[in-house]
């Protein structure tokens, strides 16, 4: 009995000590992101550096599975719980702003003019009514991965600089069995992977079409130039036979297995390819269009201060935001996660540009466009279906593109009608 009483007393005392320690210790802010191992490691490093530089502020990182993330954020912040600084996909910004979950960044620390001077231009999508709502630490862009072994076998010495060269190389690399089934693809394809981004922001522009109006609320690609871009894309499979969208289930799987000569994908693919034994690959910038136009698609995750952060927590959150958007933080993010710095000053260092893997991605940022999606998976589906109609139902590219434009416009209209 006595032992139990002593134990209880000890427990109570230590609990009280813990509580009072919490009360006197400095301000603690909370940071939320979804579970992605490399990003959690990178954020841990950033938090350690930030806490060392700012004694008196502690940052607690909480992570959630991607599937629950949005619900948790939405439930926590209005209840006065949850994060002071939150990570979100750039395409969700409108939803978060309308729901009053995040507040504008203070003009004093983050003047709009400075952001526009320092960050890559696509970050301007984060400005609403003249105020910046969120900023990225890192951005992602597309590039052309190529299999150096298959290139050497086919006697190709350099990656393609233009679409015409790309087609030519793809034809050299493609191998077929006796029945005409592809066994090695010249280039991977699949609107379900990154091709819809490549088509939307790169091919359309290279063939002289403009995908959307500047606010991305009106579809403008249903033009003869747009049809030409779609015809080019579908010809790779239909007439040139250098690719098959169903080959090996997924484009990235075909490339990883060494059965595809070229593959267009995002910088986030680097990690998966690095660990693949027996695969020898290089990276090049996306091929330029018929008239030499270069374009790219860039996307990013941003950090924002939530409406929950007030008073001293707000001040701490501002300091934290300032640190995680600094050049130093961006370099740590690049080294840990492989995602590219969001500022030219951090991205375009000599070492980064000369990097054989990161270099082409970073150069792509200079001419990259960030599509402002209303519903990314819905808008992707529109292009997936456009190609399916051509391949499976024999529809003409012109009819299919017209139907796609109408379907996508309907999606945009219903989203912005709110």
């Amino acid at each position: 009995m006595k032992a139990i009483r002593t134990l209880t007393l000890a427990a109570t005392t230590s609990l009280a000590a813990m509580l009072s320690a919490g009360a006197v210790s400095a301000v603690e802010i909370e940071y939320w992101q979804y579970i992605f191992d490399a990003r959690i490691t990178a954020m841990d490093k950033l938090i350690a550096n930030f806490e060392a530089a700012n004694p008196g502020i502690t940052v607690k990182q909480s992570t959630f599975p991607y599937a629950d993330y949005r619900t948790k954020v939405a439930a926590a912040i209005p209840a006065g719980e949850g994060p002071d600084v939150v990570q979100l996909f750039y395409g969700w910004l409108n939803d978060y702003v309308q729901a009053e979950l995040i507040q504008p960044l203070p003009e004093a620390t983050f003047p709009a003019a400075r952001i526009e001077a320092e960050f890559f231009p696509m970050v301007q999508a984060m400005k609403i009514d003249g105020k910046y709502m969120a900023l990225p630490t890192a951005v992602r862009s597309l590039a052309l991965f190529y299999n150096t072994k298959l290139f050497a076998e086919a006697g190709v010495t350099a990656p393609p600089a233009t679409l015409a060269e790309m087609v030519e190389i793809a034809q050299k690399i493609t191998k077929k069995d006796g029945a005409g089934n592809i066994t090695v693809e010249g280039i991977t394809s699949g609107m379900t992977a990154q091709d819809h981004q490549w088509f939307r922001e790169v091919l359309l522009r290279q063939f002289g079409a403009v995908p959307y109006t500047d606010d991305y609320r009106t579809v403008t690609y249903n033009t003869p130039e747009g049809v030409a871009a779609l015809e080019f894309y579908t010809s790779l499979e239909q007439t040139l036979g250098v690719t098959s969208s169903t080959f090996m289930d997924e484009p990235q799987a075909a490339f990883k297995a060494g059965r595809a000569g070229m593959h267009i994908d995002g910088s986030f693919r680097i990690g998966a390819l690095k660990d693949t034994r027996g695969l020898e690959w290089g990276v090049a910038e996306l091929p330029a269009g018929p008239d030499g136009t270069q374009s790219n698609y860039a996307s990013y995750w941003v950090n924002a201060i939530t409406t929950k952060a007030q008073g001293e927590k707000y001040d701490a959150a501002v300091k934290f935001m300032d640190y995680i958007t600094s050049d130093e933080a961006m370099q740590i993010w690049l080294d840990t996660v492989g995602e590219l710095p969001a500022k030219p000053s951090a991205a375009l260092t000599e070492a980064n540009i000369a990097d054989p893997v990161f270099g082409p991605f970073i150069k792509g940022l200079g001419y990259g466009h960030a599509t402002i999606f209303a519903d990314e998976s819905g808008q992707r589906q529109v292009l997936v279906d456009a190609v399916s109609r051509i391949f499976l139902q024999g529809q003409s590219a012109a009819d299919s593109l017209a139907a796609a434009a109408a379907a996508e416009q309907a999606l945009l209209d219903s989203y912005y009608a709110k």
């Binding site: 619900t71 729901a99 399916s388």
Partner: protein
């Protein structure tokens, strides 16, 4: 306390009965009925999971009625049901009927038939998805190509994809149905069969006049159970078509997958709730209809 003491015996029994029922009732109200009611309310609102819910009247239902994808999905859902339920019942009955007569390795065979039911649907769907791939990784197409025939587009086809997805779904559910059928067969008194044999009746007549009528409760249960599971099919379709969910061109998309996409990739919760209410009504009507048609007269 005095109030309780004044109650009659039967009233006290009622109090106790409700006392014991309170916990499950509370559980059902909080976990089942409240969310169901809330989903019905939500179907008349607009909500993206982040902001406040706004009243939208019948907008979601009107949008649903005018959505061509919904009607396609509606049709697909019933194709899954109309092909899946009879096929799975006939196959599982045939297997159970013959397995019941087998003595050699009976338990092993039964276990083998039951095994797919124990396997994770996701794992199974992915294995079948790879079976269906074109050359050089698809098992079926490699075999077909090695015989010198043209490859078959199992999944990348608006006509073949739905049956291709349905097949493993039927196969996975067989084990359970076989076990239930066998339990039903065992429950039929052997004296009926003995009497029939003495009368010299053929096997076919025994099956038609004794086995099937006496299996009716089992059949009713399995028809309702498998209809509900085919109307709610999701895992197989989603995992076999993750890159183009319900594709190509929505040809394999069931209602549950449409609900999932509307809710968790378009974040249009009100519209998703309206679809859920429709699914709920369909399930209710189909179940009641089947119970009515197969009732004991």
């Amino acid at each position: 306390m005095k109030f309780y003491r004044n109650l009659s015996i039967s009233q006290k029994q009622v109090v106790w009965a409700w006392g014991f029922l309170a916990l499950p009732v509370l559980f059902y109200v909080v976990i089942r009925f409240y969310p169901t009611a809330d989903a019905i309310v939500l179907s008349f609102q607009k909500w993206n999971m982040l902001g406040i819910r706004q009243w939208a009247g019948f907008d979601n239902y009107i949008k649903l009625y005018n959505d061509p994808v919904f009607w396609k999905v509606f049709r697909n859902t019933f194709v899954y049901l109309i092909l899946g339920t009879p096929a799975s019942l006939v196959i599982s009955f045939a297997i159970a009927y013959h397995l019941d007569k087998v003595r050699f390795l009976h338990s092993t065979l039964r276990a083998l038939y039951f095994l797919p039911f124990l396997t994770s649907t996701v794992a199974m769907a992915w294995v079948w998805r790879w079976f269906y791939q074109p050359v050089p990784i698809g098992l079926f197409n490699n075999f077909i190509a090695s015989l010198g025939f043209q490859q078959i587009a199992f999944l990348n086809s608006t006509t073949n994809a739905l049956p291709s997805i349905l097949l493993p779904a039927i196969w996975a559910g067989l084990g359970f149905q076989i076990i239930i059928f066998m339990a039903g067969l065992r429950a039929i008194p052997t004296s009926f069969y003995e009497a029939a044999r003495i009368d010299g009746v053929s096997n076919w007549t025994i099956l038609r006049e004794i086995t099937l009528p006496l299996l009716k409760p089992t059949i009713v249960f399995l028809v309702v159970f498998s209809s509900i599971s085919f109307l709610r099919i999701f895992d197989q379709v989603f995992n076999m078509t993750t890159n183009n969910p319900g594709g190509p061109l929505d040809s394999t998309k069931p209602l549950v997958l449409m609900i999932y996409q509307t809710a968790f990739s378009s974040f249009d919760m009100g519209y998703a709730a309206a679809q859920t209410v429709v699914l709920f009504s369909i399930l209710l009507i189909v179940s009641l209809l089947q119970l009515y048609l197969m009732r004991d007269r």
